[in-house]
């Protein structure tokens, strides 16, 4: 399976959000980095088919896709900046609703999706009563409930505590190993690089790096982003610590 963006350009009024971006996403995780306003979320919207590019096209295995195609929509899952959950419904009802729309209402799916992100205890709670991190976990479960082949994640680690972030890392790694496509947009270079097979960096709407994750050091990515260096890896999950050590050319300095 291969998702491809060809010559993607998109503007909001006079502002070019994305300019002639070419990207090939194979099975596994593609991490997309970039400073604020680099065009990461726009790229995600174009790849998901939510928005039509002004120029260029998105193809899955060589076939053009768009959000007008119900078959394509059934194959994707998305986690955005906002939870996308109905506040007056419980987490379980939210997931059942979206699973039913996707034709995936078999019993056990909701429980399995919640368990995958460590959110089983949230099932009977209303979405409006959840904390930021709990809402994020519930949103992830919603995106996973129909077992999508392509998963788009926009800053999925925001608001997650260390345990939940580790659980998410595990979910994404496992899906990547199963041959699913995951496009991960994040500011967290260390964690994103550790999870990814491939990384891309956007800056001012242009792609400035696109390579195997192993070939890109954290410092190079950060330099391309023009952002401050990442914090000590001490506060990161297991994958983050491994990656930070590798990027520095050493293991963690601490025992």
């Amino acid at each position: 399976m291969r998702l491809e963006g060809r010559g993607l350009s998109c503007a909001y009024g006079p502002t070019d959000a994305l300019q002639d971006v070419n990207l090939v996403v194979g099975e596994g995780v593609l991490a997309v980095f970039g400073p604020n306003g680099a065009g990461k979320s726009t790229l995600l919207r174009l790849l998901a088919g939510e928005r039509r590019p002004d120029r260029g096209s998105v193809l899955l295995d060589g076939v053009p896709v768009s959000a007008h195609d119900a078959g394509w929509r059934r194959r994707i899952g998305l986690v955005g900046h906002r939870s996308g959950l109905y506040g007056k419904l419980t987490v379980s009802e939210n997931l059942k609703f979206f699973a039913s729309l996707d034709g995936a209402a078999e019993s056990g799916r909701v429980a399995a999706a919640l368990a995958a992100v460590g959110a089983s205890a949230l099932a009977s709670r209303r979405a409006e009563a959840l904390s930021r991190g709990e809402r994020q976990r519930a949103a992830l479960a919603r995106a996973l409930v129909h077992d999508p082949e392509v998963l788009f994640l926009d800053e999925p680690f925001t608001g997650l505590d260390a345990a939940a972030a580790s659980a998410l890392e595990e979910v994404l790694s496992e899906r990547g190993r199963r041959g699913r496509i995951i496009v991960l947009v994040t500011h967290d270079v260390v964690r994103g690089k550790a999870l990814a097979n491939r990384v891309a960096v956007l800056s001012r709407g242009r792609k400035v790096l696109d390579c195997e994750a192993a070939a890109a050091g954290v410092r190079r990515i950060v330099d391309l982003m023009g952002a401050p260096r990442p914090q000590s890896p001490g506060s990161l999950g297991e994958a983050g610590r491994r990656s930070a050590g590798a990027a520095d050319g050493s293991q963690s300095a601490r025992p």
Binding site: H68, L78, H81, G84, L85, Y86, G87, K88, L101
Partner: protein, 223 residues
Amino acid sequence: MLRWAWLIAVKDLRIEFRARGRFLAMIAFVLLAGFLFAVSLDRTRVDARDVAGPLVWLVMLFASTAGAGRAFDAEDEAGAFRHLLLAPAPRPAIFLGKAAANAALVAAVAAAAFAAFALFLGIRAPGALASHAGVLLPGVIGLAATGTFFGRISAHSSLGDTLLPVLTFPLLVPMMFFGSTGTARLLMERPWSEVAGFVRLLWAFAVGSMAAGSLLFRHVVDD
């Protein structure tokens, strides 16, 4: 198509039932309107039945307008509409589901209005209730469809809910005229043959607005 519409309608009604605020506000409005007319109407000069018909339709109009706005508020609250659009449900099914939920609420408010005005204005609804339902039903459908379609447009607009009545009320003037006249005539115990023409026009509007809304909804929600 209908399966998706059903799922969306049930979801909207469940949210509405749990929020309760809008429905209770409408019922309070109905009771207040009935009470005010009951105490202020000089019944030696005005037949309450002449007033009750237009009043029921006015309440339905407000209910549909408020309902459409609120239905999309719940969708936009946490960005859920984005995910609804990314689900494989066809756009017409989303429209039909949301319009059906709105229609159910408008129908409930219309029934409450009928009961309240009968109580406060001392109106005995003559003949079969089916006759009144026959006039109200196409009105409920037409109001719900129009409100849902333009509700989405106004939710997108910077003017928000202010825009909704501006867009819908001019379109709804003919339907309000046919409907309120039909209901008033039934209350005056006129024969069905006198309202049958109005009912046909109401059904034409209801079917037309549902069809147009279903066909055009994707142009409103997709870029």
